[in-house]
Structure formats: structure tokens, C-alpha cells
């Protein structure tokens, strides 16, 4: 027994089967995680190796190069980039999309183990991080405190950072702006000299005084007692009263030569949250981990963590990336629901029967819900791509059900009993329903085969739609006939409301049918004119392509701006802070959209992973701005960003400034696109000069902003050049002298002060006011073993020098990147204009310039998509040719594709959108949707001819009777896309181009298909008939 016959005969089984699918689907839905995209994140692994005391060039030669050479052999490696800075080498490995990060990490670890022995002895072991410093932190917490401020770092480290770091998927938790407590012994060099003391002596005395020493055990009578000396300081004040020496018979106390300052470490990052000094906790995730899941866990842990903190320490959220993701997904869910509603309204007004509409309304969600099972089984998430797939499919899954429903209704109207009608009606259309599904699968299944980044995006779309189409076909052949047999009635009597509502609709539709019939008659009589006009329109639309710009991904408005400011190198942190504070105040007044503004400046301590991996220093300020939700403000994020860039021009204090939309520069998706020119070359000076030239070229091009040269400025520093002979003369060596310098300026850690189980460093050093000039350094006294004091200026000279900057490498070559943000114009224009200028440059040999950034990704994706489009067209042709058993008909139908693309170009031109990956996805989906119209038309026309009608009559009648189904299926798809194209929620920038492209392409191609396909059919049919006649005549003549 066939599927539909058994479904109709066993309604309970059929119903329960689909109820089971629905329950399973809804259960899967409840377990699905939410994310912005499928797992498209670049898999990045960082390898950090520190080698104390080495300069950037030493690091490059001894650490970075050997590591790079060995790591280059890791599989699936896309790019290897490195930064060699003083003391540290950071290598970033970028892998192909969609690979398992854990496997890659193991590969990297193996390679590191092999090369470890080749590294210098003093270099520390390379550390692997499963995330990239480029990745935007997913959660930032602000911490405010009053009494606990001195101990804040310890408190946060123990009570907040450690528990948070244990959450699976968290890459790092860093605390900034919470300086550690330190006890400073600020020494006055003059007094020290007067008493003949040195910092080293004081240090060792403090260490010797601050001791607890066990004295063993002794017996008194029958008991044993232990003996101890408890000398450790109980408060930092005790330090003052230590005797550090004697002068003229009286004791010299520490307070006589120094002041004890129980405060915080001197060089620390400062963080200001809304102009309030406080701390910040930055949480980064591992590559590939789910942001929303982690953020949920973090947020749910917060109240618990808050309880463990002292009452004056308050945690607050500055940035929560998942907020944006949740809002975006919520607004997409809304558009999907609207699409569902629109489709139901269209179906109702065309069918005019509530029972039929009810059947369709039941079948749509079942196909959609079933796809959640796929998502859950494959470990995917609910994201923009999977939800867009739902939105697209809503319009398509109804088609199968409608075809079956219509035919069953015809049978019932002819007088069949609903049960019989359901079985026989479905039987008649089953083959064509399956064939039309196959056409769509021919479009969507190849999407699952794409590789690379676009592949990750498309694979899910392809599978989702394929699965939904298959389920909807199964539904149409089992559930729909069963529901028809149960719900549809013979002799439907219509009520008053129906007459009131549908009389005008039916009249309108009839008039529409007749009008089209008349138009079609004219078209058929003027075939050449029709075909010429259509082709001219197509050719004309190709010219528009020149005016439609291209870009990679649309810029999403996630309400986040990252501002990076750089003052001249060596600027004191107080000045950086003061200027930034002025800027922050100005921006707060000018942009009421700013909800949170937080900035950090200063040198990061080495245990702050987040800060130490990115550029930091007293002259660098990084600012995070959170704007209100896009729906609540007039100005778009890109507008605000360009205004801010204008404002920054009024601050000459900032040497470099960049405003990054989306919080990070050139992120693969969502941020503003960047055009990056990579200049490869070994020689610093030559590459520097080329970079300057490229930067000047870019400055003169319209649409560029925030041009950056990646190589940082040469850093000025003071060096002491010791004269070895003079040192020897005084009985000194270089190390002793250098240590004297270090102990006075950087300080010597003499001992630890213990309080409440915590240890704090006691640091002895010159008081700040005695280390502010070169003279202070020159006057430092160095004592030799004979106790003789020599000043630094007597054994060496203090000179100012410039050290080489950070050395950046990519794919094992030195590189400078000149990058620009593309703002206001399509990326293709900027690239074309700049490339023309750069080609004219006279570039020294050994240096080459390459284009990368978003443009490289765009080119890769577009190439992939075009190959895909060709593959799909061929597959669709094969499916159609098999269905019609003809080579000509599919070719006729394929002409509607041309107009689909014309429509896409026209609407992109009119709406001012660009051709990007999202609109290309729309265009590719159109292939399947558009040919469906042609299939319906040609199928019915040839059916009419088989029934014996003349060509012209078959075409006109066929066109007239298929107009409604064509218009209805087109309308369901278009209206399903309308909420996507005109929505105003968060993240709409991403799917608006796709919705617009589908609407434009489908509308345009449907209109022209309805005219051109009949005309072409006539033309080819006449040729066919003539050929047949000729053959017949020939065979007659032969006889």
C-alpha cells in the first residue's frame, strides 16, 4: 500500500507519528544553544614565549624564527603571524575554518616539544593559549570599591577571577585596574650617603628582621616546650623603627633615611568606568566556545561571587556580548513568526477556505520543527543562518502541501468522497511534488559541499533547507492527505462573512487572471518583440552591476565601539588619563547614545594576560563604549563612529587614534570592513618608507578612515654605557653596577610582609622625587668591595637611544600592514582606487605588497560562491531535463534565472545595498525558487498540449490557469522575506541584503517569467512541430 493510502487509512498512527516528530523537535529546540553564527570563528592558537632581557631583534632571531619554522608544519594552517617584542614572542596560528581546536592544540604541542631543545637556555617554556588576543572579550565586569581598594587585586583574584576561570570554555580572566598592595621603602639618597648606607644593606637588614625562626624544643620538668622567635612585622609601621646602622654612637633608624609607604604598586594599569576609578575584569572565551553559554554561566555565578566579596566591593557588567546575540536572535525569531503569519494570510486569501488554511498551518511548523532535531543532533546552534533558513523555507514548504491540497479539493468537488479523494488526488500529484522537491534539493544540497569560511555558513543552510524540504514532501504525501480526508467537506457552504470578504477578492483575482490572459495573447502573437525587450532589460541590468559596490559582510550594529588611542611614546600615564578624561566628558555630552564608557591606560602587569598580549603602555589608552540598543536611537553606529573620528582630529595630543565598530578592527563579520595592504620585506627602513607611501595614497582616497601602520614607532630609551676599564679601576664589574641601578630605580624586593595569610612585597627603592632626571641616575653611588663609593657618571655615560620596534612577521616573513577602515563607500571602490595608485609606485626589490584583510576573505568567498552557482545551475538543469524528458524545456525555464539576477542587481542598486556574502546567499537561493515558477508553467502548458490543444491555446490557457498558483507561491516566499528586508530589530543589517535580494530577484523574475517563458515555449514548440512535419513528409516521400 502506498504511503498516502496507509496514512489516510490509519489517521491515528499518522497523527501520532508527526506529534512524535514535533515533540522531539521542540525538545531539541529547548536544548539548542544560541549563537550569532554557526561556528565560523577562525581557530586561533597563540604561542607565547618569554625570554627575559632579549631585545625585539634577539627574540625574532632566537625564539620566533625557530618556533615558526617548526610550527609551520602543523596541518590545516592558514597563516602564521608573530610579534617579537622586548622579552616576549607571541606567535599566532590561524587555522582553516571548522577544524577541531583540541586536535590542533595537540598538534601544536607536539611541534613545540620537538623544537624546545633548540631554544636558548634561559627562554621559558612556550605557553599555548586557545584563543587570540584579537578576539573581543565576551564579558567585561566593572568593580568598584572603597575601603577594600588596597587589597582589591587579591580579593578579586581569589574570589572572582579563579572561580570564573574554571567555567569551561573560558579562555582567560584578567583583572586590570586593581593594583597589588606593596610596601614601599622610599629612600632619600642624600641621607643614605650621609650615613654611609646603601639600599642593598637596608634590603638585607629588613629581610633579616622580618623573620620567624623556630628554636627547637626543650624540656621543663615533665613537659616539652617548643621555642620560637616571632620577629615578623605585625604592621607596616614597625618597619620605621628598625635600626639600620649607627652613626656617632647613636642608632640610625629606617625612618631617618627613608619613608615607609604602605600603598599600591607604582606602575599599574588604571581603569575608569564612567569616570570612576575602579577595576575591570575581562573574560575571554576559547576559540569556538559558545559566548552565550559562557556569559550565562558567568552571569548566574555573579550573585554567588558577590556574596563572597567584602560589602564595599560591587561587581557590575560593562559589556556582555551575549546581550547583542540574544537580541539579534530574538529579533530574527520575530521575523520568522511574522513570515509565518504572512504566509498563512496569503494562503487563506487565495484558497478562501479556512479548513484548507488550517491544514497548511498545521503542516508548516512540523517541517520547520523537524529541522531542530538536525541542529541538536549535529551540535549546531540557533543562529542567524539557521533562522534565515527557516524564514526562507516557510514560503517553500507550503508549496508541496498546497499542490496536494488543491488536487484533493478538485477531486472532492468532482464528487469523490474525501477519503478516496485524498488517496487518488495525492497519487496523481505525488511524482510532480517529488520532482519539484528534487529541484530544490539540487540547489540546496550542493551548499553543504562548500569548503572554507563560506562553507561553514552554507553547510548549515544547505542541510537545514534540504531536511525541511524532505520533511515537507513526506508531510505533503502523508499528513496532508490524512488531514484532507478528515477535515475537508463536500459542498462547502459559505457564510455571510465569507461572501463579504471573498467576493471582492475573487473578483479581483478573476480580473487579474483575465488581464493576464489578454496580455499573454498579445505576447504570444509578438514573440520576437517580447524576447527582444526582455533580453534588452537583462543586458541593461548588467550595466547596473558597475554601480553596485561589493563588500564582504555588512557592518552590523551591535552597539559596541572600541577606541584605541595612542599618545606620543613615553607620555606619562597621568597625562594620558587627563586627556582621555576630557575626551570622555566631551563624548558623553555629544552622544547621549553612550550608555557605558570605560577606559584603561598604563603599563599592564605581566600576569594580566588580556592586557599584556595586546599593546599596552602608559601612552596607550583603550576605550570600550557601549551604545544604547539600535532600535532606541536615531544615529547608526557607523555614523557615530565617523563623528567620533572627526572629534579625534581636534585632539592633537593623540598621535594615533582608531574607532572600531563592533569593538574590534576588521573582525571577519560584523565589524566595518578593512582593506589591508601587507608589505613584506626584511629591511626596516625600506619597508617603513613603502608603508608611508601606501598610507599617503590611502589618505587621498575617498571612503578611507583610521589609516594605521602596524609597525609601532621606534621607542626612545636611556641606556647606561659603562666604561669597563674604569669599572675595573674601581674594583667593580658591569653586573654589580647594573644591579645597583636596578635596585634604586626599579627597587629591590627585600622581603614579604604577611597579613591575614596574604603576602605583600616590601620594596626598597629611591623615593619617586629622587628619580626624575638623568642627573639623578648619574649621581647614583655604587660601592665596591672596599666600601668605596663611585658615582655612575664616573664609570659610564647615560645616553638616549631608539630601540627597534615590535617586529611583526606573517608566514615567516617580516611584514608591515597598512590598513584602512572602509566607511561610507563600498569596499570595491576603495580597492580599485588604491590599487591603481599603488601599481604606479616604484617599489625596491625584495619588497612586495599584497592585499589582504576583509578584501581577501571577500574574494575567496565570492569565488567559492560563483563556482557553487555554476554547479547548482547544472544540477538543476539535470533534474529538470530528467523530469520533462527534454533538453529544450529546462533551457527555457532557466532563462528566468537571468531575470532573477537582473532583479537582484536592480534592487541592490535602488536600495543602495551592496553585493556581499549575504546578498549572494539570497541570489543562490533564488535559483531554486525561480525555476519552480517556470516548471509549474511549462508543466501545465505541455499537459494542455497532451490534451490536444493547439500550441497557442495551450500556452494562453495554461498560463491563465497557472497564474494563481505561481503568484501564490511567489507571494508566500516574498512575504516570508519581507520581515527580513524591512525589520528594525537588532542585527537587521546582516540579513537585510539577503531579504532584499530575494524579494527583488523573485518579483522581477516572476513578472518576466510569466511573459518570456510562454513566448519562448511557443517559439520552440513551433520549431519542434515544423521539424516533425518535415520528418513525416520525408518518410511519406520515401514511401
Amino acid at each position: 500500500m502506498s504511503l498516502y493510502a496507509s496514512a489516510v487509512k490509519r489517521p491515528i498512527m499518522t497523527t501520532l507519528c508527526f506529534v512524535a516528530v514535533a515533540i522531539l523537535g521542540l525538545f531539541s529546540l529547548s536544548t539548542l544553544p544560541i549563537d550569532l553564527y554557526p561556528d565560523v570563528e577562525t581557530n586561533t592558537i597563540m604561542v607565547m614565549t618569554s625570554y627575559q632581557g632579549a631585545s625585539a631583534q634577539d627574540i625574532e632571531q632566537n625564539i620566533t624564527r625557530p618556533l615558526e619554522n617548526s610550527l609551520n608544519a602543523v596541518n590545516d594552517l592558514k597563516h602564521i603571524t608573530s610579534k617579537s617584542r622586548e622579552n616576549i614572542s607571541v606567535i599566532t596560528l590561524e587555522f582553516e575554518y571548522g577544524k577541531d581546536i583540541d586536535v590542533l592544540t595537540n598538534d601544536v604541542r607536539d611541534k613545540l616539544d620537538m623544537v624546545k631543545s633548540a631554544l636558548p637556555d634561559n627562554a621559558e617554556n612556550p605557553i599555548i593559549f586557545k584563543f587570540s588576543s584579537d578576539m573581543i572579550p565576551i564579558v567585561m565586569l566593572s568593580v568598584s570599591a572603597s575601603e577594600s581598594m588596597p587589597g582589591l587585586y587579591k580579593i578579586l583574584d581569589d574570589a572572582v577571577a579563579n572561580p570564573l576561570a574554571r567555567i569551561s570554555g573560558v579562555g582567560s580572566v584578567s583583572i586590570s585596574g586593581a593594583p597589588k598592595r606593596e610596601i614601599h621603602v622610599y629612600v632619600d639618597p642624600q641621607r643614605l650617603e650621609a650615613y654611609g648606607l646603601t639600599i642593598e644593606q637596608i634590603s638585607s637588614i629588613i629581610a633579616a628582621e622580618n623573620r620567624n625562626i623556630p628554636g627547637g624544643a626543650f624540656d621543663v620538668g615533665s613537659d616539652t616546650y617548643s621555642l620560637r622567635v616571632q620577629g615578623e612585622f605585625k604592621s607596616s609601621d614597625e618597619l620605621k623603627n628598625i635600626v639600620v646602622g649607627s652613626s656617632n654612637g647613636s642608632n640610625v633608624y629606617l625612618r631617618d633615611v627613608a619613608r615607609v609607604d604602605d600603598s599600591l604598586e607604582e606602575r599599574a594599569q588604571q581603569t575608569y568606568n564612567d569616570e570612576q576609578k575602579g577595576a575591570m575584569i575581562v573574560i575571554q572565551k576559547q576559540s569556538g566556545a559558545n559566548s552565550v553559554e559562557i556569559s550565562n554561566k558567568v552571569l548566574s555565578m555573579l550573585p554567588q561571587l558577590q556574596k563572597r566579596l567584602p560589602s564595599d566591593v560591587k561587581l557590575d557588567i560593562i559589556v556582555d556580548t551575549s546581550d547583542n546575540i540574544r537580541n539579534t536572535i530574538a529579533s530574527l525569531v520575530e521575523t520568522v513568526l511574522y513570515a509565518l503569519l504572512f504566509v498563512i494570510i496569503v494562503v487563506f486569501s487565495f484558497l478562501g477556505r479556512w479548513r484548507a488554511t488550517l491544514i497548511i498551518t498545521i503542516t508548516i511548523p512540523i517541517s520547520l520543527i523537524a529541522s531542530f532535531i538536525y541542529l541538536a543532533v549535529t551540535g549546531n546552534s540557533l543562529n542567524i543562518v539557521s533562522l534565515s533558513a527557516l524564514s526562507i523555507s516557510i514560503g517553500m514548504v507550503v508549496d508541496d502541501a498546497i499542490v496536494v491540497l488543491e488536487n484533493v479539493t478538485t477531486h472532492i468537488e468532482r464528487g469523490s468522497d474525501p477519503k478516496q479523494a485524498a488517496i487518488h488526488g495525492t497519487n496523481e500529484v505525488a511524482v510532480s511534488v517529488i520532482a519539484s522537491t528534487l529541484t530544490l534539493i539540487a540547489v540546496f544540497f550542493p551548499l553543504t559541499l562548500v569548503t572554507g569560511m563560506t562553507g561553514v555558513l552554507f553547510r548549515q543552510l544547505g542541510w537545514m533547507v534540504t531536511i525541511m524540504m524532505i520533511i515537507s514532501t513526506v508531510c505533503a504525501l502523508s499528513l496532508t492527505p490524512m488531514l484532507c480526508s478528515q477535515l475537508l467537506r463536500k459542498n462547502n457552504k459559505h457564510g455571510k462573512l465569507y461572501k463579504l470578504l471573498f467576493t471582492p477578492i475573487n473578483k479581483g483575482l478573476d480580473a487579474f487572471d483575465n488581464g493576464y490572459g489578454r496580455l499573454l495573447t498579445k505576447v504570444v502573437s509578438h514573440k520576437t518583440v517580447t524576447i527582444t525587450v526582455c533580453m534588452a532589460i537583462f543586458a541593461g541590468s548588467l550595466f547596473l552591476l558597475k554601480y553596485v559596490g561589493t563588500e564582504f559582510f555588512p557592518t552590523a550594529d551591535d552597539g559596541r565601539l572600541g577606541v584605541k588611542l595612542e599618545l606620543p611614546i613615553g607620555t606619562r600615564v597621568e597625562i594620558s588619563q587627563e586627556v582621555t578624561s576630557r575626551l570622555a566628558k566631551e563624548w558623553r555630552e555629544k552622544y547621549p547614545e553612550i550608555k557605558v564608557l570605560n577606559y584603561t591606560t598604563g603599563q599592564a602587569s605581566s600576569d594580566n594576560t588580556f592586557a599584556s598580549l595586546s599593546d599596552n603602555g602608559s601612552h596607550i589608552v583603550s576605550m570600550n563604549i557601549r551604545l544604547s540598543d539600535p532600535g532606541d536611537r536615531e544615529r547608526k553606529i557607523t555614523e557615530i563612529a565617523s563623528l567620533m573620528r572627526q572629534d579625534l582630529k581636534n585632539y592633537p595630543e593623540f598621535k594615533k587614534a582608531q574607532v572600531n565598530v563592533g569593538g574590534n578592527r576588521g573582525g571577519a563579520m560584523g565589524g566595518q570592513s578593512t582593506v589591508d595592504y601587507e608589505i613584506y620585506g626584511y629591511n626596516f627602513e625600506e619597508t617603513d618608507s613603502v608603508a608611508q607611501q601606501v598610507s599617503r595614497i590611502l589618505q587621498n582616497i575617498k571612503g578611507t578612515a583610521d589609516i594605521m601602520i602596524s609597525r609601532s614607532d621606534y621607542q626612545p630609551e636611556y641606556q647606561v654605557d659603562f666604561d669597563r676599564e674604569k669599572l675595573a679601576l674601581y674594583g667593580l664589574n658591569l653586573q654589580t653596577a647594573a644591579n645597583y641601578l636596578r635596585n634604586r630605580i626599579n627597587g629591590s624586593i627585600s622581603s614579604q610582609f604577611r597579613e591575614d595569610g596574604e603576602e605583600y612585597d616590601i620594596k626598597v627603592m629611591y623615593a619617586p622625587e629622587h628619580r626624575t632626571s638623568i642627573a639623578d641616575i648619574e649621581n647614583i653611588l655604587v660601592y665596591n668591595s672596599a666600601g668605596q663609593g663611585v658615582r655612575i657618571k664616573d664609570v659610564g655615560t647615560v645616553v638616549e637611544r631608539f630601540t627597534p620596534p615590535t617586529i611583526e612577521r606573517k608566514d615567516r616573513e617580516r611584514i608591515i600592514t597598512v590598513s584602512t577602515v572602509v566607511s561610507g563607500v563600498p569596499m570595491s571602490e576603495v580597492v580599485a582606487a588604491s590599487q591603481a595608485e599603488i601599481d604606479k609606485l616604484d617599489i625596491p626589490t625584495g619588497i612586495n605588497i599584497e592585499l589582504s584583510g576583509s578584501y581577501e576573505d571577500q574574494q575567496d568567498s565570492f569565488r567559492d560562491l560563483l563556482t557553487l552557482a555554476v554547479l547548482i545551475v547544472i544540477l538543476v538543469y539535470i533534474v529538470m531535463a530528467a523530469q520533462f524528458e527534454s533538453y529544450t524545456y529546462p533551457a527555457i525555464i532557466m532563462t528566468s534565472l537571468l531575470f532573477a539576477f537582473s532583479g537582484v542587481f536592480i534592487i541592490l542598486y535602488l536600495s543602495g545595498h551592496t553585493l556581499n556574502v549575504m546578498s549572494m546567499i539570497g541570489a543562490i537561493m533564488l535559483i531554486g525558487i525561480v525555476v519552480k515558477n517556470g516548471i509549474v508553467l511549462i508543466d501545465y502548458i505541455s499537459l494542455n498540449r497532451e490534451r490536444g490543444l493547439s500550441i497557442r491555446k495551450a500556452v494562453v490557457l495554461g498560463g491563465k490557469s497557472r497564474l494563481r498558483p505561481v503568484v501564490m507561491t511567489t507571494l508566500t516566499t516574498i512575504l516570508g522575506m519581507v520581515p527580513m528586508a524591512v525589520g528594525t530589530g537588532q542585527g537587521v543589517e546582516m540579513w537585510r541584503p539577503m531579504g532584499t535580494a530575494v524579494i527583488g530577484g523573485l518579483t522581477f523574475s516572476t513578472i518576466l517569467t510569466l511573459l518570456l517563458v510562454p513566448a519562448l515555449y511557443c517559439l520552440f514548440a513551433y520549431v519542434g512541430v515544423k521539424r516533425k512535419r518535415k520528418n513525416i513528409n520525408l518518410s511519406i516521400e520515401k514511401k
Partner: protein, 97 residues
């Protein structure tokens, strides 16, 4: 004894079987899928792309007294739903075993 050949649109099948049972005609032979076309009008039943519907045929041999009852009932059925198509033909049975 007369034989009645009933050719009809598939959708009638169950109704005709019930009718025969009600009329006390137990024996019948049926072909579920047959193709055909009416002499005057009505859609052809070919099961093809152009004419997808199919017909069935039943042949039953009944007592002479039953013929009118059955044919009247069939005619009534045909008049109620003329678009489906239902025809019956009666001829003599010369001999049976």
C-alpha cells in the same frame, strides 16, 4: 442470470461494493486500475500526465430480479456526482459452472 459490467472512477469503488452487498449480490470480480474514455463527454481516465485519473471495473453476475435495483441505484449515484463518471452494462449469461 445477467452479468453487469460497471466501469467507474476509482473514487466510487467502496460505495459500489457496499451497494452490491446491500442488494444481496455477493459475487463480483474487479479490476482496480483500468483506463477508458466515455463515448460522449467526460474526462478520459488514463492515469497519464495529461489525464491522471484512473477508472476501476467490476463485473458481477446477479439474478434477473436484482438487475433493476442495482442499475437504478447506480444511475442515482451517477446523477449525484456526474463529473466522476460511472457506467453499467448488462448482458445475458448463457451458462455458468
Amino acid at each position: 442470470m445477467k452479468s453487469i459490467l460497471i466501469t467507474f472512477d476509482q473514487a466510487y469503488y467502496e460505495r459500489i461494493i457496499t451497494l452490491l452487498e446491500k442488494s444481496n449480490c455477493r459475487g463480483f470480480t474487479s479490476w482496480l486500475e483500468v483506463q477508458g474514455r466515455g463515448s460522449h463527454n467526460g474526462e478520459p481516465h488514463y492515469g497519464s500526465h495529461a489525464w491522471p485519473s484512473l477508472a476501476s471495473a467490476i463485473i458481477t453476475v446477479v439474478d434477473d430480479s436484482r438487475v433493476d435495483t442495482v442499475l437504478n441505484a447506480l444511475h442515482e449515484m451517477d446523477l449525484a456526482t456526474p463529473k466522476l463518471g460511472l457506467r453499467a452494462f448488462v448482458w445475458n449469461v448463457e451458462r455458468t459452472i
